[in-house]
């Protein structure tokens, strides 16, 4: 019965059981949290959860039970989260970022076996969401959230969920249009075959009429519904007095359609319905590929995604949870350990140790005393505090950033170069058409209309659109495969034009939460290490965690009299020894010579044995990336909200001639980007947190670095997985190649156009020629663009 191979890894989450090993039900668990989740799952006979994938659980080691779900009882919040309700059923959607494997899907879709109040649940894996239908009479929303939380899936509810919810979705209409266009194209092509093979003259009039009637219907359908995508876009841009590429395309579509209509109705021919439906289908396919973005990612986040939905407010009689948007100046709010302060406020009661890393990027805790102003965006660390609100959430110092100009215009910054190109294309074409018209006016005036319409049909700029959309589509796909997620295709062009790259420090070029740790002054023997690690294991402070993680594979012992003094240090008694870890005053040490603020002292039995030096851990390959970018003549700069403790190290990496800025506020960052742009630079900004949000938005290309792409990143143009930062240079180079591919395929399409024009100027464009030229041109473009994109991807090893 013994399962030997599972001895060291947790049955629930699969992590190594380093610290404690809990035996329960013949299984091994790494922490109590995992055991509890297992017992719930086992109690409800849902152990199949553990057979679908190996160790599917979410680690519960750092999981804390929170009181924040109580806000789900407030009718206002409830109303915004619940999508549908009647007396019997209520439908609700929770976002569960922990969903990661098929076991998750299985367990979450069997929620009804755990609680009878749940009728059914459905998981959307890619969106990491769960749709639950439950009976509100038997189960409240709060209990439901707790239920998910208890099995290891904590619902993520933030302010964004309850304000305007505009979820970015792939347009359903576009897929519908694509389906109908495909239907029209295939049938119209099939119905036209007899026409091609019979050399344009079908003997039987009845058959000919049936073909024509069906072709007419299909062509009209395609022209009205699927092509409306182009009609609408052309109308919109014309209203703004801009000629985009859709305008000449729509002109060509209208001419093709009316001429075909005329030919069919007058009985003089069969028209170009097959070519028309074909080109509409191919153009829509290109547009679909280009628009396909990752569903899970959102590029439009602002502070609302980071802020909690509710906060506890102290009223005269009792404590009450209210939505943060209802906070008014004068309200007394209570902020507990690890909770975010949603509005600027004055500290009224308690020990405030605020972690502003969220806003400034600086990791150290800031101590505040009673009566001091505390800015929004900080996280309280330690016991609960009371604060008096002085500004509403939307007027706070941090959120002010979003009221700035940059965030107001949501327009795309620029039009793609193909729109300009299509203008020249159209001018050349129209001159040609004019010349041909004049020529025929003098020679054979009956052929004027015939030849000029034929020219407009065959030489429409759709080839240009196809080249661009298919190239962008495949480049986006390749970059996505490389964990470089772009918001849309226009970003590709901006990326290719970039000449200046600005880095943020914390979280961008350093690992978030990971610290390089070294013990100075002395060396610790194994017993001492064990003592220090045991004490450190008791605290959740980032420094304690870093010390704890530094010594892997050593067991910690029982700690007695553990005491943590926030902002100072921790102490405890292990195996009869008094251990103290903390600041120099806490431990009673004198400052060493090369002392830095991130040093932590250790004493055993009141004897100081040394100190830990903590420094940021830079991402792997950073040196390579910087030299790579410098070789390609990019201007570099670094702008950080953190202090200049690491200036020397950074100078070594970036070199002397790179400008490094420290202690910068979010607004400074934005202004710096702006000043670079005023010098005519095209700026790429790399950042990770809310403090970079302004700069990311202002820059030509804003890249948000994220260690877990499902996590939250501020509004940006690109989301990049932190592990792949080192390849940034290759990504930019690849984006540049895209433009060349578009040009190449444009030249190919010009050759097709010239062949078609050769027939068209003579007024001899038979439908069969159009029917051969148009699809073969489209297919050549598709093959050329995708082929070359993937070829270059291979060359660049992407």
């Amino acid at each position: 019965m013994e399962i030997t191979e599972l001895k060291t890894s947790c049955y629930h989450c699969g992590l190594n059981c380093e610290e404690e090993i809990i035996h329960f039900d013949n299984k091994v668990f790494c922490c109590n949290g995992c055991k509890v989740v297992y017992s719930i799952v086992a109690e409800n006979n849902l152990c199949e959860y553990y057979t679908i994938s190996n160790n599917p659980g979410v680690s519960q080691r750092v999981h804390q039970t929170s009181t924040k779900f109580s806000v789900l009882n407030s009718p206002e919040v409830k109303q915004k989260l619940i999508c549908f309700t009647d007396r019997e059923q209520t439908h609700v959607v929770f976002s569960l970022p922990q969903i990661h494997c098929s076991s998750c899907i299985w367990l979450l879709e069997n929620l009804h076996k755990i609680n009878d109040g749940i009728i059914s649940s459905r998981v959307d894996f890619t969106a990491k969401k769960i749709y639950i239908i439950y009976k509100e009479k038997e189960l409240t929303l709060e209990q439901l959230a707790f239920l998910c939380n208890n099995i290891g899936y904590e619902p993520h509810i933030n302010l964004n969920d309850i304000t305007d919810t505009k979820i970015q979705k792939i347009d359903k209409g576009l897929i519908l249009k694509l389906g109908i266009a495909g239907f029209c194209f295939a049938n119209s092509m099939m119905l036209s075959f007899p026409e091609y093979f019979s050399n344009g003259s079908i003997e039987l009039p009845l058959l000919k009429n049936v073909f024509n009637a069906l072709n007419f219907t299909l062509g009209t359908l395609a022209f009205i519904y699927p092509a409306s995508e182009f009609h609408l876009s052309a109308c919109k841009s014309l209203k703004k007095k801009i000629i985009n590429i859709d305008a000449p395309i729509v002109l060509a579509l209208i001419i093709t359609y009316t001429r075909s209509l005329y030919e069919i109705l007058s009985g003089s021919g069969v028209g170009y319905m097959d070519a028309l439906t074909g080109i509409i289908f191919f153009m829509l396919t290109g547009r679909y590929l280009q628009m396909y973005t990752h569903k899970r990612l959102s590029f439009e986040r602002d502070y609302k995604s980071y802020f909690p939905i509710a906060v506890t407010v102290k009223r005269a009689t009792a404590e009450e949870n209210i939505p943060v948007l209802n906070l008014k100046p004068g309200d007394r709010m209570i902020i507990r350990n690890n909770e975010l302060i949603p509005a600027d406020a004055i500290l009224f009661y308690g020990d405030a140790n605020i972690d502003y890393s969220f806003v400034t990027g600086e990791a150290a805790l800031v101590k505040k005393s009673i009566g001091e102003l505390v800015y929004a965006g900080g996280k309280q660390y330690g016991a609960a505090i009371e604060l008096e609100v002085i500004k509403e959430v939307s007027n706070s110092d941090l959120t002010q950033l979003w009221n700035k100009e940059v965030f107001k215009n949501n327009q795309d910054k620029k039009l793609s170069f193909i729109h300009g190109l299509s203008k020249y294309f159209s001018i050349v074409l129209l001159t040609l058409v004019g010349t041909v018209a004049i020529y025929w006016a003098f020679n054979d005036s009956t052929r004027i209309l015939n030849s000029i319409t034929a020219m407009l049909i065959i030489a429409c700029p759709c080839s240009l659109l196809l080249s661009a959309t298919f190239t962008n589509g495949s480049i986006l796909r390749i970059l996505r495969r490389n964990h470089f997620y772009l918001k849309n295709a226009t970003v590709l062009e901006s990326l290719a034009e970039v000449d200046t790259i600005v880095f943020d420090k914390t979280g961008t070029i350093t690992h978030n939460g990971e610290m390089k740790i070294s013990f100075e002054d002395h060396t610790l023997d194994e017993i001492q290490i064990q003592l220090v690690k045991s004490v450190a294991s008791q605290s959740t402070h980032p420094v304690s965690k870093a010390i704890f993680n530094h010594y892997k594979g050593i067991k910690s012992l029982r700690v007695e009299h553990f005491n943590e003094i926030i902002g100072a240090g921790i102490s405890g008694k292990v195996a009869g020894n008094h251990i103290k870890i903390g600041s120099e005053t806490f431990v009673g040490a004198t400052q060493p010579q090369n002392y830095e603020s991130t040093s932590v002292f250790v004493s055993i039995n009141n004897q100081i044995i040394g100190y830990y030096h903590l420094s940021n851990q830079y991402r792997k390959g950073l040196n390579y990336l910087i030299t790579n970018l410098k070789n390609k003549n990019y201007h570099l700069a670094l702008i950080s909200g953190d202090n200049d403790a690491e200036q020397l190290r950074l100078e070594n990496i970036f070199g002397k001639n790179v400008r490094l800025f420290f202690n910068q506020t979010p607004e400074n960052k934005l202004d710096f980007i702006k000043s670079l742009q005023d010098e005519g630079k095209k700026v790429l900004m790399l950042g990770d947190g809310l403090n970079d949000a302004g700069a990311l938005k202002q820059s030509n290309v804003g890249i948000a670095i994220s260690d877990d792409i499902n996590n939250f990143s501020p509004a940006c143009d690109v989301i990049l997985d932190g592990k792949y930062l080192v390849k940034l240079g290759d990504y930019i180079r690849f984006a540049k190649i895209g433009k060349n591919i578009i040009w190449g395929s444009f030249i190919i399409s010009l050759i097709y156009n010239l062949v078609g024009l050769f027939f068209a100027v003579q007024g001899l464009l038979a439908p069969v020629i159009a029917a051969i030229l148009m699809p073969s041109m489209s297919i050549s473009i598709i093959l050329f663009t995708t082929g070359f994109s993937f070829l270059f991807a291979k060359i660049f090893r992407l």
């Binding site: 019965m1 006979n45 152990c47 199949e48 057979t51 679908i52 098929s102 899907i105 299985w106 879709e109 459905r122 998981v123 959307d124 894996f125 890619t126 969106a127 979705k169 792939i170 359903k172 897929i175 519908l176 389906g179 109908i180 239907f183 295939a186 049938n187 099939m190 119905l191 039987l204 009845l206 058959l207 049936v210 069906l214």
Partner: protein, 65 residues
Amino acid sequence: MSALILLLGVSFIVSVGFLIVCISAIKNGQYEDDYTPSVRILFEDKPMPKQPLQQQSDNSTNEHK
């Protein structure tokens, strides 16, 4: 030749049928989540999956010995 017209009509109706299926699938939201159903279809609905499974695996290991 009238057979051809009949065939043409039939094939057209069939293709219209497929188009309707396609449209209803889009309207139903089948294109919104294209991953989860592929996992969901592999789940089995067993009344008591745990005990019989363990016994089976125990038996099989014994046989191997």
